[in-house]
């Protein structure tokens, strides 16, 4: 027995390596589906169907064909326009409201904060149904066209992603030192110009993080896009489904479309990751 017994130091080292291996295995397992998405997109439909995967000779055929199979370009442009404008508006509103919550103790501040959290408790369908009826009513009775238009989705998304953005922005403004504004006020700035010229530039990483965050969530939104659009303003999550329903066997194209739909958010995320992760976790850690 004594020959097999390990010294405590070696035992700990082995245990450590065991845990390291487990860590690598878990990360690999998390990444495997993403890798499969990318590899699959460079295969042919036949190879995917037969299991004759050929990783050495990737083909970009699926990427070229998918644009002709469905009108993917339209979905892509719609998503890009709707999400970037809505994220911009949500970030702007959230910046000003988040600043107010971070700096001022005003009557109604608690009620407002509670409303902001409260909106998260409402099922989307709760306000979706009246908005749907309202959009139809506006279309029939007024010149305001919101059903199946980009504008309609932009308005809905702006409101949809404002509450969480307010929470993020509040956390970022709390981190901006008060002394900066006080110095600006002493120098004769008004509160508004101190906000615009001193506070906002200092919170810029937070603003970018909030924008990307709102964009990511808008890009992912399906429920409202599925019900408030018909044939003009459908976004990628709607359009991409036509690959399964109409072109059942063309999985390479489906995966290629998935890659194209993922790339913009991947780029946005990893470009701003430093600030985004800090903002997301700061909000969560502080509670």
């Amino acid at each position: 027995m004594t020959a097999l017994q390990l010294s405590p130091r070696w035992g700990r080292r082995l245990g450590n390596w065991g845990l390291n291996l487990l860590t690598y295995a878990v990360v690999a397992l998390l990444l495997a589906p993403v890798a499969w998405l990318v590899f699959g997109a460079f295969q042919t439909d036949a190879d995917l169907a037969n299991g004759t995967y050929d990783f050495l000779h990737p083909t970009t055929a699926a990427f070229r064909e998918m644009w002709d199979t469905v009108d993917f370009e339209r979905y892509f442009v719609n998503s890009l326009v709707i999400c970037s404008v809505a994220a911009l508006l949500a970030t702007a509103f959230a910046s000003s409201a988040g600043y107010a919550l971070a700096r001022f103790r005003f009557r109604g501040a608690d009620a407002f904060s509670l409303t902001v959290v409260g909106t998260q408790l409402i099922p989307g369908s709760m306000f979706l149904l009246p908005i749907f009826l309202g959009f139809i009513w506006l279309n029939q009775n007024t010149p305001v066209q919101l059903y199946d238009t980009r504008l309609g989705l932009i308005l809905v998304y702006t409101a949809f992603f404002t509450p969480l953005s307010i929470y993020l922005m509040r956390a970022f403004f709390v981190a901006v030192p008060r002394e900066l504004e006080e110095a600006a006020l002493v120098d004769g700035c008004t509160r508004f110009s101190a906000f615009i010229r001193v506070v906002l530039p200092n919170a810029l990483p937070g603003i970018i993080a909030t924008y990307v965050y709102a964009f990511l969530f808008a890009w992912d939104e399906l429920l409202f896009a599925a019900t408030l659009t018909e044939r003009n303003s459908e976004t990628i999550p709607i359009g991409i489904r036509t690959f399964i329903s109409n072109y059942n066997q063309e999985y390479a194209q489906l995966l290629a479309a998935g890659v194209v739909a993922t790339v913009p958010v991947m780029v946005a995320f990893f470009a701003t990751q430093r600030w985004l992760v800090r903002g997301l976790t700061a909000g969560a850690v502080k509670g």
Binding site: P33, V34, T115, L121, M126, F127, L129, P130, L133, P163
Partner: protein
């Protein structure tokens, strides 16, 4: 409230009130745009939605929109108590599926997320790369995740059955994942997969905020790894767990994208969730009042959940 401090000379009350208003006026102006949007898109429509739950909006009355006939509590009665009503079994299935979907996704995501965060918090070669890469599933949009998994779950051609049956020989027959009893797992697994990175990020941030001295002191006192986890890590992470649990349950209960993209507008009795049921009844079958009534019930259920949650974690919120 007036800021704390030691004023050299107390300004008159009127002056103070005037100053408070002037400061507050700016704050109100800052809040106004967000408030207007939330009123227009969240609050007023929610009120209208509760109103619609009392209307009979169907294929024939749809053109009347908000002036559809008032039927009182009939929608609620049909859903909850009318065993003759053909819509009721579907509702019961959806409630059962939504509860098990929520319990499994939140339970596994939080416990596995904590475990993986503990692993990633150790010192090991490649730590930075591993912590960056593991975020990837969360950045994949959920509709792409659903399509990808739908492809992977395919019985004949999907990679999951290829690995389980052809490569590893763990199973003799190819299971059918997207139909029947398995289909609830077909939507649970991708939800966990996509939800994990965010939970891990939050727990990692929480773990890093725990001072090393606590562990060192405990180690000197002879506490083993399990005791250190049980008496230091877990209590200090409790506020984070509470917040994740609160929002995890709400988001899971309101999940729509993954079942809808993966299984279509009718996921079948084993995987139909409340949100897919509502959307199908309201938009495919134009039973808008029925959909609004279920939405109202869901909202009440979530308010109850928040109340239960608050009672359980009230003390943690004070320390958070």
């Amino acid at each position: 409230m007036v800021a704390k401090g030691l004023p050299v000379e107390t300004p008159s009350r009127r002056l103070r009130a005037a100053r408070a208003w002037r400061r507050n006026r700016f704050a109100y102006a800052l809040v106004l745009p967000a408030l207007l949007f939330m009123l227009a898109v969240h609050i007023a429509p929610t009120a209208a939605g509760i109103y619609v739950a009392f209307l009979d909006v169907n294929l024939f009355t749809f053109h009347l929109l908000f002036r559809a006939p008032w039927v009182g509590l009939e929608n609620f009665r049909d859903i909850l108590f009318e065993s003759e009503n053909p819509l009721r079994p579907g509702f019961i299935d959806a409630v059962r599926n939504t509860i098990s979907y929520t319990a499994w996704t939140v339970g596994i995501t939080l416990s596995a997320g904590l475990g993986i965060a503990l692993l990633l918090n150790r010192q090991f070669p490649g730590r930075r790369v591993a912590r960056t890469l593991m975020i990837a599933p969360w950045v994949v949009p959920s509709f792409v995740a659903a399509l990808l998994w739908q492809f992977m779950w395919q019985s004949d051609t999907g990679i999951i059955n290829r690995v389980l049956v052809d490569y590893l020989h763990l199973l003799d027959e190819r299971p059918i994942w997207l139909l029947g009893e398995n289909s609830i797992w077909a939507i649970i697994v991708p939800t966990i997969w996509r939800g994990l990175p965010f939970v891990i990020l939050v727990f990692l941030a929480g773990l890093q905020a725990i001072p090393d001295e606590l562990y060192e002191a405990a180690a000197i006192d002879g506490a083993g790894p399990w005791q250190r986890f049980r008496y230091i890590t877990l209590p200090l992470l409790r506020p984070l767990i509470a917040i994740q649990l609160l929002f995890g349950v709400i988001y899971a209960a309101y999940q729509f994208s993954i079942p809808f993209v993966m299984l279509g507008s009718n996921p079948g009795p084993y995987a139909d969730l409340l949100m897919t049921l509502i959307v199908r009844q309201a938009f495919t079958n134009q039973l808008i009042g029925y959909g609004a009534a279920i939405s109202t019930l869901m909202m009440i259920a979530m308010l109850l959940w928040v109340a239960v949650w608050y009672r359980a974690f009230r003390r943690d919120l004070v320390t958070a």
